[in-house]
């Protein structure tokens, strides 16, 4: 399937003449083959593993998502049902749980939606007037804008008055709020630690620790910490008159608790790499700018930020992709509750799997894949061109 075209010239064993080859032992011939085919031998294990445990399951999942899976006496039956699962999720009985209850947009939400739409239109106009314009590009951009608007409207409508956000919107909130907080705090801490101060090493090590802890453990840890009766902050809650209040029993409180726990765990990842990036930025330029009398903000904006932009781009991409898969934290911290207030898409799919509705579970997973791929592609398309100078 994959044929290497260029072999390095100076391979010692591939230079064996036919006569010599005939005299080789079986082991020698095996070595000869191993060397001649090293390009394939090195890459095939990875390709085969990913093929059989990623691509193959992906195809099966697609098939499952179009079918109804049932356990019958002595085994199971799979019946092809077309788009019924997707129909149920997007328009039918499961719509409430995946997408949420539609309310009416609140005024700030409405304004936000209009601004969002205007930004899209401006970007589209810029594209049409630029040199890179092509009809195919325009077509894909129009589809992307429709999809993005659909997601934006969904968020605005379900978060507005009388609306209840579903698993998809909740996951989007977790991802965007979580990643933004992690990056912001991580960058702030990294900027402070790069200064010429004492105790650098101490802060580096301490700030790294939360990343090592299992999300399941963090779930329990924050259950203890947010307890208003026996948790460590109980006196504070009582002083504020909130003794009967429980974080994990109100929808907003539970979501905030999940975001805080997620931020606590993953800020170290941002911090440690941004710190290394900041420390490797060129000191000459910074010093030159300082001599020229550049202010703190101007220095950060036009000298430091461009240097760490490529790393930031990759970091945010990694964290966004990983954050979409969130399941263990809400599952332990809030059990997805109260009700389904903190149910992420993956948790929803898992709950459906436990209810033995494998077809629906696979369909949910596929919808998540579509959203993740879309967000990642749009992010790469829009941001990469601006920050990564090749």
């Amino acid at each position: 399937m994959i044929e290497p075209t260029s072999q390095p010239q100076s391979l010692p064993l591939s230079g064996v003449s036919p006569d010599e080859y005939a005299n080789l032992s079986l082991w020698g011939r095996f070595n000869h083959w191993l060397e001649k085919r090293s390009a394939l031998v090195l890459i095939m294990p990875a390709i085969l593993l990913v093929l059989f445990l990623s691509l193959f399951p992906l195809v099966i999942s697609l098939f499952l998502s179009f079918s109804r899976f049932q356990f019958v006496s002595g085994g199971f039956s799979i019946r092809f049902v077309g788009l019924a699962n997707y129909n149920k999720l997007l328009f039918g009985s499961e719509q409430r749980r995946l997408l949420g209850d539609f309310g009416t947009a609140s005024p700030p939400g409405f304004v936000l939606g209009v601004v969002f739409l205007l930004v899209m239109i401006v970007m589209l106009v810029q594209y049409v007037r630029s040199k890179r314009f092509s009809w195919v590009g325009l077509f894909f951009r129009l589809i992307a804008i429709l999809f993005a608007m659909a997601l934006a409207v969904l968020c605005i409508v379900t978060l507005g008055e009388d609306g209840i956000p579903g698993a998809l919107v909740v996951t989007l909130i977790f991802v965007f709020a979580g990643v933004a907080l992690q990056y912001g705090i991580g960058l702030g801490l990294a900027l402070l630690v790069t200064q010429n101060i004492r105790g650098k090493r101490f802060f580096r090590i301490v700030f790294l620790l939360p990343m090592m802890i299992t999300p399941v453990g963090i779930g329990f840890l924050f259950r203890m910490l947010t307890n208003t009766i026996v948790g460590p902050f109980a006196p504070l809650w009582q002083a504020a008159g909130l003794a009967d209040f429980s974080f994990v029993e109100t929808a907003t409180g539970a979501r905030i608790a999940v975001i805080i726990a997620e931020t606590w765990q993953w800020t170290p990842f941002m911090f440690i790499i941004l710190l290394a990036a900041l420390e490797s930025t060129s000191h000459e330029i910074v010093e030159a700018a300082r001599v020229d009398g550049a202010g703190k903000w101007a220095m950060f904006r036009s000298i430091i930020l461009p240097q760490i932009a490529p790393v930031s781009f990759t970091l945010i991409l990694i964290r966004t992709i990983e954050a979409f898969k969130i399941i263990d934290l809400p599952n332990i911290l809030t059990y997805g509750g109260p009700g389904t207030a903190t149910e992420s898409v993956t948790l929803y799919a898992y709950n459906q799997w436990r209810a033995l509705d494998l077809g629906l579970s696979a369909a949910i997973a596929y919808l998540l894949l579509i959203v993740v791929t879309f967000v990642a592609m749009v992010y790469v398309r829009i941001i990469r061109r601006r920050v990564v100078v090749d």
Partner: protein, 343 residues
């Protein structure tokens, strides 16, 4: 006087005012990080009474630390209650991370040094063959027959018709394809893997978990190590080839020693993911191969909120990783930065 507080005498050191601000913020975050860990630690030494009669902060002052939870979890419940999941986590975590590093680094090296030209048409045929096999199995054939027939057709067509097509992809496409596997939500692949492992009797075994973890770790390894290896100049290898070294010897003796910081950082990251992995273990194990995250997660259902016991389990589980992080801290940032910086 006040001026001296806001202006630094030495241009390379922050001014005193800035220093105060810096230490306040960093001190606050140190508290944010360490306090939950401190609370976890002391809760593991509390008795139920100490936990439920309101918050107790300082051992020997507020409460008398006791080995109540240790006794309860380790002596009363039986030592295998902890040792079995613990050894599973250790073995599965270490072996899968190590294998992922070996296979992933090999692939990353190959992608950096060889040119691959997989033909588009053959890839398309392969995907079609996969679809065909799924349809055959769905139609009622046993899985080995379905897959076998589809693969036979694929090889027959690929080696006759497939060679005529010209369009091909390059190394960047392969790399992107491998790395993009990380984007797949675990839940999407885990249901078929569950069925597959059931057929191969790999459910609830360490081997099954190792294979699964290895696969999901590969993209990260290829991503991080790929850029690391591309930064190593070719000349180093070429001189070795002229001296008659084989490809594998060069990889082992020249490339790997230069990658040590990257290897350590990548290993640690992958190990953290595999050590703490939850959802795949949830699907693929029952009792025999149960790992620590599952044991911890199950506590609330089986025992109610026995926080002293849960704290102890979490503490035991995270201790090795924390020690490892303290020892290897130097390598993490440096190793990851070179790998991730180019994206």
């Amino acid at each position: 006087m006040l001026d001296r507080f806001f202006k630094s005498p030495d241009p390379f050191r922050p001014s005193p005012a800035r220093l105060v601000f810096t230490y306040l913020v960093l001190g606050f975050w140190t508290f944010v990080v360490l306090f939950p860990l401190y609370w976890l630690f002391i809760t593991a030494f509390k008795t139920p009474v100490d936990v439920f009669t309101g918050p107790k902060y300082i051992p020997w002052v507020d409460f008398q630390p006791e080995m109540f939870a240790w006794n309860d979890m380790i002596v009363d419940t039986g030592i295998t209650f902890i040792t079995r999941p613990y050894s599973n986590t250790v073995v599965v975590g270490l072996v899968s991370s190590l294998l992922a590093i070996i296979i992933g680094t090999g692939a990353a090296y190959a992608l950096a040094r060889f040119d691959y030209r997989p033909k588009l048409a053959i890839i398309g045929m392969f995907v079609l063959a996969l679809v065909l096999s799924v349809i055959l199995v769905g139609a009622g054939l046993p899985w080995y027959l379905g897959v076998g027939i589809a693969m036979a057709i694929f090889f027959a067509v690929a080696y006759t018709v497939g060679r005529r097509f010209k369009g091909h992809m390059g190394n960047n496409d392969i790399t992107f394809w491998l790395i993009s596997q990380r984007m797949l939500p675990t839940i999407i692949v885990i249901i078929p893997i569950y069925v597959l492992f059931q057929q191969l009797s790999l459910l609830d075994t360490r081997q099954g978990l190792i294979i699964a973890y290895m696969t999901v770790s590969l993209p990260l390894v290829i991503w991080f190590m790929g850029d690391y290896i591309r930064n190593i100049p070719l000349e180093l290898e070429e001189s070795a080839f002229i001296d008659g070294a084989s490809r594998y010897l060069v990889l082992w003796r020249i490339i790997l020693p230069l990658c040590v910081p990257g290897l350590i950082a990548t290993f640690l990251i992958v190990l953290v993911f595999n050590w703490n992995e939850y959802i795949m273990a949830l699907f693929l194990t029952r009792a025999e191969a149960q790992t620590m995250p599952l044991l911890v997660a199950a506590q609330n259902a089986t025992r109610g909120p026995q926080w002293w016991n849960i704290s102890l389990l979490v503490l035991l589980m995270i201790a090795p990783l924390i020690i490892l992080a303290l020892v290897l801290e130097r390598y993490i940032a440096r190793g990851l930065l070179i790998g991730a910086v180019k994206g």
